[in-house]
Amino acid sequence: MLGEKALEFLIRLCGVSAILFVFGIFFFVFREGVGFLFRGLNLREFLFTTEWYPTSQSNVRYGALSLIVGTLSVTTLAMILAVPFGLGAALFVSEFCGKRLREGLKIVIELLAAIPSVVWGFIGISLINPLIQDVFHTPIGLNVLNGAILLALMSVPIMVSIGEDALKAVPDSYREASLALGATHWQTVWRVLLPAAKNGLLAAVLLGVGRAVGETMAVLMATGHAINIPHSPLDPVRTLTATIAAELGEAAEGSDHYQVLFIIGILLFLLTFVVNLTADLVVKGIGKK
């Protein structure tokens, strides 16, 4: 009996472990960056200026605006590419295709999601880079567009699977009622299913955004490492995630530079936390109905 009590305690402990880990992540990342966050870092300079010279001898500047804009630009372009394809594919898989084709497409989506991000980055360098050079006649093809194509391909699978769940959650009686009135499939989708599933589809998009914001290796390798505000999709940029990955190795432990990278980590953590929380609340909104 005692054994069972101990075991149930262990199970409860593992149950709350996810909460502990989320707090732990915030705590330990915060802990490494907190010194500089409150003593030294000019938060206004950090958030609103574009000069990022962390290793300069005479003129050290930690303006992360270019990095923030870098992340936003790559993510935005990726979503412009991915949302229509992701939701369109979700609609096709859920409403327009037969059982066999659906199973096949789901496997494809799963495999697409299984490609490691470093391999995506490599594909960005070896396959998409020359393609962009040829099509747009640019000297180098590592830029916002390249990163966005990769992020789009990486976030489409999550959009399709969450979006399909959302569409599946719409009761069949809705479809039957619409079809019985003589509406076509397309009319049913457009007038009945989309309005009914809009929260779930929004959540699917948000999770795609979260995925794209947090992606590291692919954008590190494919966006071209230039810290500036991009003016066109063919400009190279550097994202928040890529900056941490590129500079953490060189920053001396405990130095200002090192701590600033952890502060960027806190920013990323909060950003994705808000996105995921919103997605969750939006989905739970359906559950209540």
Partner: protein, 297 residues
């Protein structure tokens, strides 16, 4: 008579729109198939004859320009194996808690939210966490153990999600029958619920392996190194306190930091990485299909 059943303009328009919608969505769906085939085909084509048994079992030499990937391959096996040993029990028990013990209240809601958020934390933030918590705070140093623990926490949601799904698929009547003959809650879980959801748990484990094997960012600063020489053909060549090479990191290194590497080399490494995850995912799909066909309820 025939005019009565002839298509009106409205019907024709409906049919046309239906066809257009179907083909547009079909094209969008197939747009996922094409990149997948293209990528695999391209990798296989370029990696060509570079892949061989020798490539897998010899160390990289001459500044990674010659030789194989043995030390990276073994490093990945270590990292994945150890992270699995940590995340599988915690993940399965967490799912047991969520599905069998937790009531439907705000607390369970918060745990579920935490799981979703844990899955959404960027991989590079996991790296910062691993560095702050395991490498520095717990004084593990940059080592296999620190990197594995970081990977374990990162991949925990994968196991929790698929185990939870598997547990939820076990009909309530199974549990009720067991309770009615006097079994305790744990006995029910141990004898009835877990055995009936074994395949689902296995799927989660396989997906965890696939995910952990491909991750780069979380291990970059917690235990992976550019180069490490090992005695070939010896499985226990790494010590847990050592740093190790890893396939994913090796691909990054060779692609971005090694000039004049043989052209096929990064393709071969990428193919091994993709091949590993595809094998794992295919295994997961097969397990799931078998489960579905064997299900008696």
């Amino acid at each position: 008579m025939s005019a009565l059943f002839a298509e009106t303009a409205l019907v024709r328009k409906k049919k046309r729109n239906e066809l257009i919608a179907r083909s547009i969505f079909g094209i969008m769906a197939s747009s996922m198939v094409i990149p997948l085939l293209l990528i695999i085909g391209y990798l296989v084509y370029r990696a060509g004859g570079y892949l061989s048994w020798e490539f897998l079992t010899t160390n990289p030499t001459h500044g990674m320009r010659q030789g194989g990937i043995w030390s990276a391959l073994l490093g990945t096996i270590y990292l994945v194996g150890i992270s699995l040993m940590v995340s599988a029990p915690i993940g399965v028990l967490a799912a047991v808690y969520l599905n069998e013990y937790a009531k439907e209240n705000w607390f369970a809601r918060i745990i579920n939210l935490a799981v979703v958020n844990l899955a959404g934390v960027p991989s590079i933030v996991h790296a910062l966490f691993g560095l702050g918590a395991f490498v520095l705070f717990a004084r593990m140093g940059r080592s296999i153990i620190a990197a594995s623990l970081t990977l374990a926490i990162m991949t925990l949601p994968v196991i929790i999600a698929s185990t939870k799904e598997a547990l939820a698929a076990v009909p309530m009547s199974f549990r009720e029958a067991c309770w009615n003959v006097g079994a305790t809650r744990w006995q029910t879980i141990r004898r009835i619920v877990l055995p009936n959801s074994m395949t689902g748990i296995l799927t989660g484990v396989i997906l965890q392996v696939s995910r952990a094997a491909g991750e780069t960012a979380p291990i970059m600063f917690t235990g992976a190194v550019f180069f490490k020489r090992l005695s070939e053909g010896q499985f226990f060549a790494y010590n847990l306190k050592d740093q190790c090479m890893a396939l994913s990191m090796h691909l990054y290194t060779v692609t971005t930091q090694v000039p004049n590497a043989p052209e096929e080399l990064p393709y071969a490494i990428a193919l091994v990485l993709v091949g590993t995850s595809f094998l794992a995912n295919t295994a997961a799909i097969i397990v799931r299909t078998v489960l579905r066909s064997r299900k008696k309820w």
